[in-house]
Symmetry: C3
Subunit: 354 residues, 3 copies
């Protein structure tokens, strides 16, 4: 039997389908609505006041509550999946992620990626693809830009390898570049009682560690609802029938899910750190599955003033998320090896009123 | 003890309560909001650009993104349940279903049904009720009309049977009647890259089959959230205590759930088929339960131009959904019998740009 | 190792941290959106027409559909948790709860509590804290006020007990105080067919009991999504890892969850009782866990006209919710003891057209 259907079905790009310089305009554009924000909130329970209450946001200088930064990230990321990582073996890392413009309910985002690096693996079965992806709003403004690299299967082991190009990536986003997505805020109008924390920029110092205490168990319905909200179609998250026969024997939770959980948990300790300004790097140390409980702790890696701004400062945080392991003992690495409970190691900048 | 309460509780209509010509104005009217759309999207993950992005919809001539056609169907259908099918044994079929006017967030719908046929079964324990139901918006316009027939219990076996009237129903919706819910679109402004597929009307031909590849597992929480979103109150979907003692031993998933899943999956193959214009007929071949994974494939049954329209054409599709059975082999019937994996056999028209 | 982080993490108030007269402005303010309403509806499936359709609400005199009263209650309540009940052993009761002003999508609520009573328990390990909490909108209007009392742990058994003050609480809200959150409605425009019930104020009498018939099973994902929607952070609802080692061995469902389920179920019997005007008292008789099915029945305790109002009257209801026990036999108490199936005993006033 002929298969007339095959060319009409998208089975994703393989390693040999990429070339450096290729620009991909991803489907599907999405208007982010108050409804999307509500679904997101109901899944993660974030409590940062700026994103929760229009009145709070307006008092300090926003036109209204902006959309949660990580919801923006997930939506922009989700669009890249069908073109970049449908045949990925592993999502290897993120770098140089900048939030560049606030997103508000009603804004429409689409994503564009440029291939900036390619490296075949020695097995010749897979290769690493580096892409710089951008989220773009209805006015053509870039709201978010980041690099990620993924290990992608080759369609044929014998396919010729492209010229190896490995991009040089910054170890972190320079603090002088932070804050473009955050308007100058009226700090005097920022009500710390309503925000739920009295701690401001000056109350943190590099090296301190904070346990976020509370744990949240993840259910299959929750992570699938979240991942569909972002229109992320990676089948590994949705198809129990197929995954039950896989290496893990079950559906794998989208790596962005524990990022959002950890961010929501970090409210207890960083209640005024209302804006994620940049992500320096992130590693999904081990997979998360439904039924497990996510805990998190953070270390302040650095503090930085922003050039020309007296309203907010930046904290560079490492937030570590674990599964089924409360974080009072700040689990991280034993020698060079991660503690087996660790699932996420995220290095990012947040802004907080001075 | 007397039971003063019984008349105040609605226990639904039985077969002998219906008569041909009876018109039922169903409760409860519903304003469909951006919030409802977001919940729906998060449950099915649809990616058709027209419904996803206001900017995309506006470029081609819509005032904004319309509400997903099947969400409209489920809301209109849900309202009919307390009056038509609370005592139904089985939902036997749909026919002559027309989407007649686009629905936008903020529109308020209510439903009206007319009984158009009655036929007692030979057992005298049940009968078949045929109703034509319509969804009506706040301006009195009919947005959707369809016929369905259900097998309904009699309250008393000895109750007199009504005169048998079986309506003549079309085998399908004539293509000349399609498209009233779709404005004339500006095809030149339809961006196939953003939409996620380059295939247009002319790229499909009758007889071709497309496997939609991906599977989605359904959780109890998901189908109950969806079905409550439509205010569909059929207890068989919600009450594990009672259903655990039933024939199936568990809650039955609303038949509309796999329809929406299959429609979302069909994006992979029909990414530009943005509008469901009509449903010719549908059969719930076997029940779906939580924990099972839904796959789907489609066959193009026919293609049709629409009289006087150069912007869009129509594809008549059969979409078959299965449980725990990937569809690379296009499972359907063996002789006259459905493959045991098949749960849904849906025959419908979609519109797609030319 | 020093623990520099401890002061930055909120571990909640203990009994000895409260004093009578203390006023607490709770974090986090919240703009209630159409999205929140949609998520709430999809979790409880309420069908009261006033809250479901803007057109229905407008015809009888509302500017648009108000937010469901219990969603308002849960949001206001949720904000008090981090300050009042993070170290609570038990939520003992509610009283004197008045809905004072309608809330509409777009309104922003915050909560304020005043400590009105303190009583150390004889064990000296815990004490009872009485608070009067208020929900306040963006204009400074109180939309909801209620008293609750909770048993809270002491940090140290040896801490000095405060002077014992036990507030005198009304046994119920006086009917003359009802209705401030409900505009004068145009009863002639109230369409009982669309509302789904023909029964009005005059059709009920004190003493009658109504079984709401249908049961709804609760899933873990559902109650966690609901409770996060309210930004209620009580960890006992979310953390399976910790709770699996607790007395119950599992997560405990927020007591407000069965209240909302019972209210939605009560539509079948009280379909026109569109507004919860006050809660006289409530008792969480026993805990609810995922996998159990909630049923409910109600008794009309009293009927009351409202002074100066010809449009609506009030029904005082006792609604009893059970787990895994259909309510045709109206289970309540056996002697002084509650039937073991009972989980909720709620005494409240609803308004219904005359």
């Amino acid at each position: 039997m002929s298969e007339p259907s095959m060319p009409k079905t998208d089975s994703g790009k393989f390693f040999e389908d990429f070339r450096v310089g290729l620009e991909i305009h991803h489907a599907t554009p999405r208007t982010i609505t108050l409804g999307d924000v509500a679904v997101y909130n109901s899944l993660f329970g974030s409590r940062f006041a700026v994103q929760s209450a229009d009145t709070f946001a307006q008092k300090i200088g926003y036109p209204r509550s902006p959309v949660d930064d990580l919801l923006v990230f997930h939506v922009v990321f989700g669009k890249t999946v069908p073109d970049v990582s449908l045949n990925a073996v592993a999502n290897l890392g993120y770098a140089d992620c900048h939030f560049l413009k606030a997103v508000y309910p009603g804004d429409t985002l689409h994503s564009v990626s440029e291939v900036i690096g390619l490296k075949e693996n020695s097995s010749k079965k897979t290769g690493i693809v580096y892409v710089r992806s951008r989220g773009i709003n209805q006015n053509g403004d870039t709201v978010l830009a980041y690099v990620r690299w993924v290990m992608v299967r080759k369609r044929k082991e014998t396919a010729a390898a492209p010229q190896e190009i490995v991009p040089e990536l910054p170890k972190g986003v320079d603090a002088t570049l932070l804050g473009r997505a955050c308007p100058i805020i009226n700090v005097a109008a920022y009500d710390t009682a309503l925000a739920g924390s009295t701690r401001r920029f000056g109350d943190y110092k590099a090296g301190e560690k904070i346990d976020h205490i509370v744990g949240i168990t993840v259910e299959e319905a929750e992570h699938m609802i979240a991942t569909r909200l972002y229109q992320n179609t990676a089948r590994i998250h949705f198809d129990h029938f197929t995954e039950s026969k896989s290496r893990f024997g079950k559906r794998l939770i989208y790596g962005g899910h524990p990022i959002s959980l950890a961010r929501a948990l970090s409210f207890n300790g960083f209640g005024n750190a209302f804006h994620v300004a940049a992500i320096n790097g992130g590693r999904h140390v081990s997979p998360l599955f439904a039924g497990l409980t996510v805990f998190a702790w953070s270390e302040v890696l650095a503090i930085a003033e922003l050039p020309g701004r007296k309203d907010v400062g930046a904290l560079r945080l490492r937030t570590v998320a674990t599964k089924d392991h409360p974080c009072a003992d700040f689990p991280y690495k034993v020698g060079d090896e991660y503690d087996p409970a660790v699932i996420l190691d995220l290095d990012y900048w947040v802004l907080i009123p001075r």
